[in-house]
Symmetry: none
């Protein structure tokens, strides 16, 4: 029985309130032999108290040894087996900016690029133009009309936009047009090899090529944004929704569109944020909407960002900001508070890594305490929940909130 | 998605070098309540340092509570689910002595035996004749000609040889001829019950019976090796190869043919050894071939042998020899060194056992240290990797060597 069969059978539509606080890329590594990780170095009196009162363990995001991408990492946290469910990048991006992806739609992630007079890509990000300039270029892309399909184009940020095609007979199984290297011509859109015989895929590729050709004409005044590459063609992944599988009214508080996108695709409401919102700002948004939802997914982006920068101290600082703001959440008296990450991003590696993620469950009513008294990698290894797949976090969350019934008589 | 789907998707054909050092039957038990295990009793300053700098855990070879055979134990270490993949004993023995097992071939393990004038087996090992005498008897078996198939007979060691049949219409699903007890007549070879209707199985059984009958004639001058029993009929298990599933050029350094056999079947090159090579000799072979491979499987046999002898102190001594020789491997600067066993062989039990196996990962660049500072059973229980199936060792090995890419965007 997959987890969802169990949760559909056992989940109750009443019970306690849950906060899933995700510090993106939380797990870390010592910079020097014998040294602390970022989380161990951070002064986190609130998390340490929660670890002492609650229980801890190590979450395995995808599989042992596997470095997670952000999409699969979050699907796993939400209880969706990331080896079974996947979200194409275009669908993620479209959902992220709030586009309503309907069955049959095909979405792609677009990048403005610079092309030279010989037709070679010389900058894959068009000099990272401003979001304002991007929006001006998008305004001209909106004028493109394709035969038989509606096109929706929206600016995301800087050189990034989304193209959504809506109409009959589309198929997302077409290849990207980005040559991924400068000094090369853009690629023609083609059906994927496995979809070569699929008429809808060929039709979609033809429309994409037509869109790009017309874009090249219309973008001439927008140099350096005088060309586009399209990537990650995808349709709605049709994920089961939180309300269906968990009987939860769920909300997302996240500052980055991508995480809002995944949340929308699993049926969460997205509470509007501002890009520069601090952990404190995000927690205050939870407080404002506390009465409207059973479940809050709160996403802190900058632990991951500072890890990717290789800036150990700055990652420590973000963790400390989160800790300092935690009383805002605790004052709401959640029945279950989980603190974890979608993967590790050790500053030492400057990238996502395969290492397991320290995870904390706090649920005053029924959590079984362990011997761990501080929240960190070395301590969570001997935590009361042991090692578990990230996809079990939602099971524990529901259980600790009294929202899962008994299995069998 | 099975592990191999993941590794095929994510493995890179470049990255760090890996040494998988397997101390056969490493895990042990205290001889007296409160006493140390063999590994705990051994003085292992090098392994203890690696445990301190690296991370540790407990490997579950087959399934909790299951005592592993050597074949499945090694398949698991190599990442092949031992409940899904199996190697017939004949195939293992043939591969072990370097016979090239082709599709359609049927191989069996042969034992010289002694039969009396009443046709009863009186010694199932023919008095454990010398390898020299065995080879003389094999020379006469080589003269046997079967209709329509080629037969290859090779001495293994003492009373053991391999019979390989090559030709059209063979099937390995036939039963062993060894009655497994003295005082009984040899069994006639028959198709397995499930293969009763299979013509090729009946044909194979007929050929086997014909071979045995002719062998009985030809072996009369070789008393006590005046008869043969054939066991473990098997064909090529067609295992996926290391190069295919892991993108690794792999080599095996092992003194026993069986472990060389498993290694060959998963696509490793086998570096020639001498039967009495010490751990130091084996490590020096790794050093000699260091530049030619990405991955070395190094097998130490005598931890298991001394465990099976019930000789606690001698097993301790083998572990200490390995520890003393470890600097030879460390001087090669491997990116990842794993020390583990294929199963436990506690001297107290004088046999393989189901107990989990202490395991150590050392990877100076990116290993996440735990609180363990000595390599032993009691310490590894609280190691940074927890309890994991042995089949995950290769995932961690690739990950620690930087040879696995990210899953998803």
């Amino acid at each position: 029985m997959a987890n969802f069969d169990l949760t559909r059978l056992l989940a109750k539509d009443n019970g306690g309130k849950i906060i899933l606080l995700v510090l993106d890329g939380l797990g870390g590594l010592p910079m020097e032999p014998g040294g602390p990780t970022e989380l161990e170095a951070a002064s986190t009196p609130n998390m340490d108290r929660l670890a002492q009162e609650g229980t801890t363990g190590m979450s395995i995001p995808i599989a042992r040894g596997v470095e997670p991408g952000s999409g699969p990492g979050h699907l796993a946290l939400f209880g969706y087996d990331p080896l079974r469910y996947s979200i194409g990048r275009g669908a993620l991006e479209a959902a992220g900016i709030g586009l309503d992806l309907r069955p049959g739609d095909v979405a792609a992630r677009g990048n403005f690029a610079t092309i030279d007079e010989n037709g070679l890509i010389v900058d894959r990000r068009a000099g990272r133009i401003s979001t304002e300039k991007g929006a001006e270029a998008v305004a001209d892309l909106k004028k493109i009309v394709l035969p038989g399909v509606e096109t929706i184009v929206e600016e995301v940020k800087e050189h990034r936009f989304v193209l959504l095609m809506r109409g009959e007979g589309l198929d997302p199984r077409v290849e990207e047009t980005d040559p991924l290297e400068v000094g090369k011509p853009p690629l023609k859109c083609e059906p994927e090899p496995a979809a070569k015989e699929i008429i809808a895929a060929q039709h979609t590729a033809d429309l994409v090529n037509q869109f790009i050709a017309e874009a090249a004409e219309r973008l001439k005044p927008h140099y350096p944004a005088n060309f586009i590459n399209l990537r990650g063609f995808a349709s709605d992944p049709a994920l089961p929704k939180f309300k269906d599988v968990y009987k939860l009214n769920a909300a997302c508080v996240a500052v980055y569109p991508m995480y809002q996108g995944v949340s929308r695709l699993v049926g969460m409401d997205v509470i509007p944020t501002k890009p520069m919102d601090s952990p404190e700002d995000e927690f205050n948004l939870v407080a404002q909407h506390w009465d409207s939802y059973d479940f809050f997914f709160v996403h802190i982006k900058y632990t991951d960002s500072r890890g990717e920068d290789g800036n150990f101290d700055a990652k420590v600082d973000v963790i400390e900001q989160v800790d300092a703001a935690l009383p805002i959440l605790l004052n709401l008296n959640p029945d279950t508070l989980i603190i974890t990450g979608d993967h590790s991003t050790p500053a030492k590696m400057k990238q996502h890594s395969f290492h397991e993620v320290p995870t904390l469950f706090w649920a005053p009513a029924i959590v079984r305490p362990d011997e761990v008294t501080a929240f960190g990698e070395r301590t969570c290894v001997r935590g009361g929940l042991g090692f578990f797949p990230a996809t079990d976090i939602m099971m524990y969350a529901l259980a600790h909130a009294g929202r899962l019934g008994r299995y069998g008589a």
